[in-house]
Symmetry: C2
C-alpha cells in the first residue's frame, strides 16, 4: 500500500499493491483505522482494520480527515458527547484544526452560536469567512482569556469543545453556564510540558453542574456509516468545507508533526507520501 | 417552627407553631428544602418548599441527613451521576461524612468493591466496621495519595465520588480505569483557599475516556419519593445505618460549621436547636 499519511502514525489512506486477503485486491483504495506507519509501503497484518474506500469523488486525503478519524472525532465528540441543542452557545479551541473546523461547522448547521479560538490572524479569518463561525479570536493576542471569553459569551458557554486544555480550559471553567458540557478531545497545550499546568477552577463544575467528558473517536466507530450518510451530502452541497495543509514527501513528516505543536499548520495536516 | 438545624443555613427540620397555609397546621413536623436560617423560630415565606414529615419512627434529625439533602445527594450522585454497575471499584473521599457514608453503603448494597478515605483512625474504623466498606484509609497518614490508591485499587478505579477535590482528585486521575466516572459532589479541601490548588492530571481523562460530572441534589428532588421508597426499608432492616454528630443548642452552630473544615465532626454534623 502506498499512501497519504497523517503526521502521527496510525491513520493512512493508500492503494493495495499486493493482497492475500479475499476482501482486498490490487488497486483497491483503503483507509486504515490505526495501522499504517511512517513509510511508503506498509504490510497490514490485520486487514480487518482496513476499510475499502467506495466514494472517490472527494479528495482521497479526506479519508485521513473529514472522512476519517478527525471527522469521526468531531462527529462523536459534538453530537454524542456534547449533546447539543439548537441555540446553545458553543466554544471551540484549536478551531481551525483537523477536528475543530468540523465541530464549528456542525454546530452552526444545528443552529448554535459558535466562537472559535486559533493561533493566527489567518486562522481566525478562516473561522469567520470559510467555516462560518459567528466569531473567532487569536488567543496569542489575548492577555486575559477569561476577559476574551466574557466578551464573546456575555451569558456564558453551554458547550466547550476542548482541544487544548491548560489556561484556556481554566478560563472556560469560569464562564460555563449551568448544565454546561465540556468535551475533552485533547490537551495539546500540555503534551510537551514536563509537568502539566494546574487547572485551578474545576470547583466551578459543582455549582454549575458541568459535565466534563474525555473521549476517543475509536469508541464510536460503529457510527461511521451514519456519519458518512450525514456528511457526504453536506460536502457535496458545500455546506461543510474542509481545509487541509498538505506537505509532500515522506521526508516532510517529522517537520509536519513538530509543526502541530507550534501551530504552523493551517487546517488538517496531511503528508502526501505518493500521488496516485 | 423550631428545629433541628444543619450548620449550614438552608436545610432544617422543625415543628409548625403557627400556620397561615392550608396544608400545614400547628404541630406538623416539616422538612425545609432550603429556607431555614440559624434561628430558633423561622418564618417560612414560601411554604411550598416545606415537606410534611409523615414517618416519625426514625430520628427526626434524619430528615436533615439520610432522609434529607445529604441522602438525596448520595442517591442522585451515586445512582444517577455515577451510573454504577455491580462489581465496579468505587472510591469515596470524606467517606464517613454526611454523604460519603451513604454512598459507600449504597455501593456495597449494589455489589461494588468500596474504599473510603477519611481523616482519623476513628473515622476509618467506622468505614470498615459500621458502614461495611471493604477498605478505608486515613489520608492524613498517607504521604503519597497516588501510592495509597494504587495499594487499594491495583486495577484502578471505576467510580470516584469526590467530596474533597484538590490533591486527592489529582491522585485519582492517575488511577482511573477506562470509561471511569467521577461525580464531583464537593471540593471541601478548596473552599477556604485564597487560590484553589491546581489539578495537574486532567489530561488523563482523554485517553481513559473519563466522565467527570458536577452535580447538586436540588436537580433531582423529583426522585425523592423513589429514594424514600428505597431507603426506608434499608433503614428498618438495618441494611443502611447513619451516623450523626449532634451539637446541642443554637450557640454551638458556628463551631459546628468551622469543625467541618478541620474534620472534627464524625458523621453527619447536626445542630439540635430544640428538643421536641
Amino acid at each position: 500500500m502506498h499512501a497519504y499519511m497523517q503526521p502521527l502514525s496510525g491513520y493512512g489512506v493508500g492503494k493495495v499493491v499486493v493482497s492475500g486477503h479475499p476482501n482486498f485486491k490490487e488497486g483497491d483504495l483503503v483507509l486504515a483505522w490505526g495501522t499504517t506507519g511512517w513509510e511508503e509501503y506498509s504490510v497490514i497484518a490485520a486487514p480487518e482494520t482496513l476499510l475499502k474506500i467506495q466514494s472517490t469523488d472527494v479528495p482521497l486525503s479526506y479519508y485521513t480527515g473529514i472522512l476519517g478519524m478527525p471527522g469521526m472525532t468531531a462527529y462523536a465528540g459534538f453530537y454524542e458527547v456534547c449533546t447539543p441543542q439548537k441555540g446553545e452557545r458553543v466554544f471551540v479551541s484549536a478551531a481551525s484544526g483537523a477536528v475543530g473546523q468540523l465541530v464549528g461547522q456542525f454546530a452552526k448547521l444545528l443552529g448554535c452560536y459558535v466562537v472559535g479560538s486559533a493561533g493566527s490572524k489567518e486562522k481566525v479569518d478562516l473561522l469567520k469567512n470559510k467555516f462560518g463561525f459567528d466569531e473567532g479570536f487569536n488567543y496569542k493576542e489575548e492577555p486575559n482569556f477569561e476577559a476574551a471569553l466574557k466578551r464573546y459569551f456575555p451569558e456564558g458557554i453551554d458547550i466547550y469543545f476542548d482541544n487544548v486544555g491548560g489556561k484556556m480550559l481554566d478560563a472556560v471553567l469560569l464562564n460555563m453556564r449551568i448544565h454546561g458540557r465540556i468535551a475533552v478531545c485533547g490537551m495539546i497545550s500540555q503534551y510537551n510540558l514536563d509537568q502539566p499546568e494546574g487547572v485551578h477552577n474545576l470547583v466551578n463544575i459543582v455549582g454549575r453542574r458541568v459535565r466534563m467528558q474525555g473521549f476517543l473517536a475509536g469508541d464510536y466507530l460503529h457510527l461511521y456509516p451514519k456519519y458518512l450518510q450525514m456528511v457526504f451530502p453536506y460536502i457535496k452541497e458545500g455546506k461543510v468545507v474542509y481545509v487541509e495543509d498538505v506537505s509532500e514527501g515522506i521526508e516532510s513528516a517529522p517537520a509536519a508533526l513538530l509543526g502541530l505543536f507550534t501551530g504552523r499548520n493551517v487546517g488538517k495536516k496531511v503528508v502526501l507520501v505518493a500521488r496516485e
